[in-house]
């Protein structure tokens, strides 16, 4: 502020008014500034990383076809300091001559390189200018963060921060472009023409200020985006942790239990050494049953883990084919237990939005529950019905009705069969909801218990 009061930036050397040729020259520069601003604004929109946004601004400031500064630096506020963060441009006159010659020979247009962001280029430039960036680190003294508008500072500038930068950069004069967000000083962009000593015109300064204003908005957006991403990541990790704990518990309960029982019975059998073949057979059957349960559960878990590894992918799924396949896979068991398992497929294909692996798991769960509930000689009916924009996939059985307290919400985790975790229906509900569907339960038909998966119909 003190600097602004002491010197009007637009009367700096080089800005001559009144001559026609100068007027044309200035008009050309203004057009260039406007087109650079326009391009930068478009590029800022695409930036998702703060480094990208900062780089766009620095390249726009230093490109020959842009604002044409010799070099530029971006300093950001961290606690009570201003930290040299990003930089671009030569460190000396010799380096400048070499660099600009190279750019000319190779016909490189820096602004054209901005369409694709190359983080490694930014990192390289940060490493090359590390010493300079370090030298620009400044404690935020009283007054430093109070600038609101861009200004040009000379060596006799009184502000301690600016004095330090002028000294560190050995600049004859320095363009200071403060970035302020809702009254709070966020950081500053510094630019100079330490090699060419080219003067700073008023349009150039105003254009640079507008650019930094856009940069500020882009940085805010990228920060918000980064925070959103971090929150998403934290939520994903928390969900993963829950899934892992649930998996560990399921493994312990559903696999270790039958395994423990089978192995324990086998130990006991070997110690007791029954006297008759019938007794051996009876014990052997118990052990075999336990091991079959383990095998069945392992198969389920393998499928489940594979699905989790792939993530949920909802796609157009042929519900008829899926149900036919699953019912067929349960038929041998149903026959062995004298259970009538029916599925009358609809006369036309029915497609739903679902992840086939997860839908498999849900239907398997309902079928398994129904088979357990009917015991020997019962009946299980599977149906597929279109209901407007929904498809109802129901599994009904004429086994035991649910206990009264569980009828209100059997998907809450309270329902379980001996030997089961009782949490299968909770998973079914969770999976169905994740696929945009829902679960329902009813005993509308006397003597029948019906669980339904209501899926989004795919037309």
């Amino acid at each position: 502020m003190r600097g602004e009061a002491r010197r009007q930036p637009w009367i700096l050397p080089g800005l001559r008014r009144g001559k026609f040729s100068s007027y044309q020259k200035e008009r050309g520069r203004s057009t260039k500034i406007l087109s650079t601003l326009h391009l930068a604004a478009e590029l800022f929109e695409r930036a998702v990383m703060p480094e990208h946004a900062g780089w766009i601004a620095l390249v726009a400031l230093t490109a020959g076809e842009g604002f044409g500064f010799n070099r530029a630096f971006l300093l950001r506020r961290t606690d009570g300091n201003l930290e040299g963060w990003l930089g671009i441009g030569p460190r000396s006159g010799e380096e400048a001559a070499r660099l600009w010659q190279q750019l000319q020979t190779l016909e490189v247009k820096p602004l054209a390189t901005l369409s694709t962001f190359q983080p490694e280029v930014v990192t390289q430039e940060q490493a090359r200018l590390a010493e300079t960036l370090q030298a620009l680190n400044t404690p935020l003294h009283e007054g430093c963060g109070r600038w609101r508008r861009a200004f040009v500072a000379r060596r006799d500038f009184l502000d301690p921060c600016v004095k330090r930068w002028l000294q560190a950069l050995q600049s004859p004069f320095l363009v200071v472009l403060p970035m302020v967000r809702q009254g709070t000083f966020w950081g500053v962009v510094l630019a100079d023409n330490f090699v060419t000593k080219a003067p700073i015109s008023a349009p150039l300064l105003e254009g640079a200020q507008a650019l930094c204003h856009n940069l500020q908005a882009a940085l805010e957006r990228t920060e918000l985006w980064a925070r959103f991403q971090a929150e998403q990541e934290a939520r994903r990790r928390a969900e993963q942790a829950v899934v892992l704990v649930e998996t560990a518990r399921a493994l312990a309960h559903d696999i270790k239990n039958p395994l423990t029982a089978a192995a324990g019975l086998l130990h006991h059998l070997l110690q007791r050494k029954p006297g008759t073949v019938e007794e051996w057979e009876a014990w052997g059957r118990k052990v075999a049953e336990g091991l079959s349960r383990v095998e069945q559960r392992v198969n389920q878990l393998v499928q489940e883990l594979a699905s989790r590894g792939q993530g949920m992918e909802v796609s157009r799924t042929d519900a008829v084919a899926l149900v036919q396949r699953l019912v067929a896979s349960w038929q041998p068991l149903a026959e062995s237990r004298n259970i009538a398992l029916h599925f009358l497929p609809p006369d036309k294909p029915v497609y739903v939005w679902a992840d086939p692996a997860y839908l498999d798991r849900c239907v398997e769960n309902l079928l398994s529950n129904a088979m357990k509930a009917v015991g020997l000689g019962g009946e299980v009916r599977v149906q597929l019905q279109e209901e407007g924009r929904w498809v109802r996939l129901s599994v009904a059985d004429n086994g035991q009705p649910l206990p009264q307290p569980l009828r209100a919400d059997p998907f809450s985790g309270g329902l379980g069969q001996p030997g089961g975790s009782g949490e299968g229906l909770v998973s079914v509900r969770r999976l169905m909801e994740a696929m945009g569907g829902k679960v329902e339960y009813d005993e509308d038909e006397p003597g029948w218990v019906r669980f339904s998966l209501v899926l989004r119909r795919c037309v």
Binding site: A252, T260, A261, L265, E289, G414, G416, P418, G419, G422
Partner: protein, 119 residues
């Protein structure tokens, strides 16, 4: 003969307990659910309870709290396939905590210890 109530939602496990501990001289009673166990405890005296934590209708820790509230001196042994339940504060009410294994030695020792039958 000491009467021991085993509560577990796995029939095969209960069968194993019945076979093994009956032969070792215990009067073995088994329940598949917490409700069954509550009913049994209300009607018959027992000398110890071996309780699974993860039961079909919920966590057995609720039953543990009920038992300890009504009969604080009745020994309760928690038996579970998932060792980390030991971190649950409620499980500290139990007289012993055993991780399920085909080798019933640990459960046997815990039972003897809580029944005052030896180390």
């Amino acid at each position: 003969m000491k009467r021991v109530l085993f509560v577990d939602d796995d029939e095969a496990i209960l069968e194993l307990y019945h076979q093994v501990f009956s032969r070792e001289g215990y009067d073995v009673k088994t329940c598949l659910t917490m409700d069954e166990a509550r009913e049994h405890l209300a009607r018959f005296p027992v000398d110890a309870v071996v309780l699974d934590i993860r039961l079909a209708e919920g966590l057995g820790l609720a039953l543990l709290r009920e038992i300890k509230a009504k009969t604080p001196k009745l020994p309760v042994i928690l038996s579970t396939a998932y060792a980390r339940y030991q971190d649950d504060f409620s499980s500290w009410l139990a007289d012993a905590y055993v991780v399920k294994s085909a080798d019933l030695g640990e459960l046997r020792s815990a039972l003897r210890r809580t029944l005052g039958e030896g180390p």
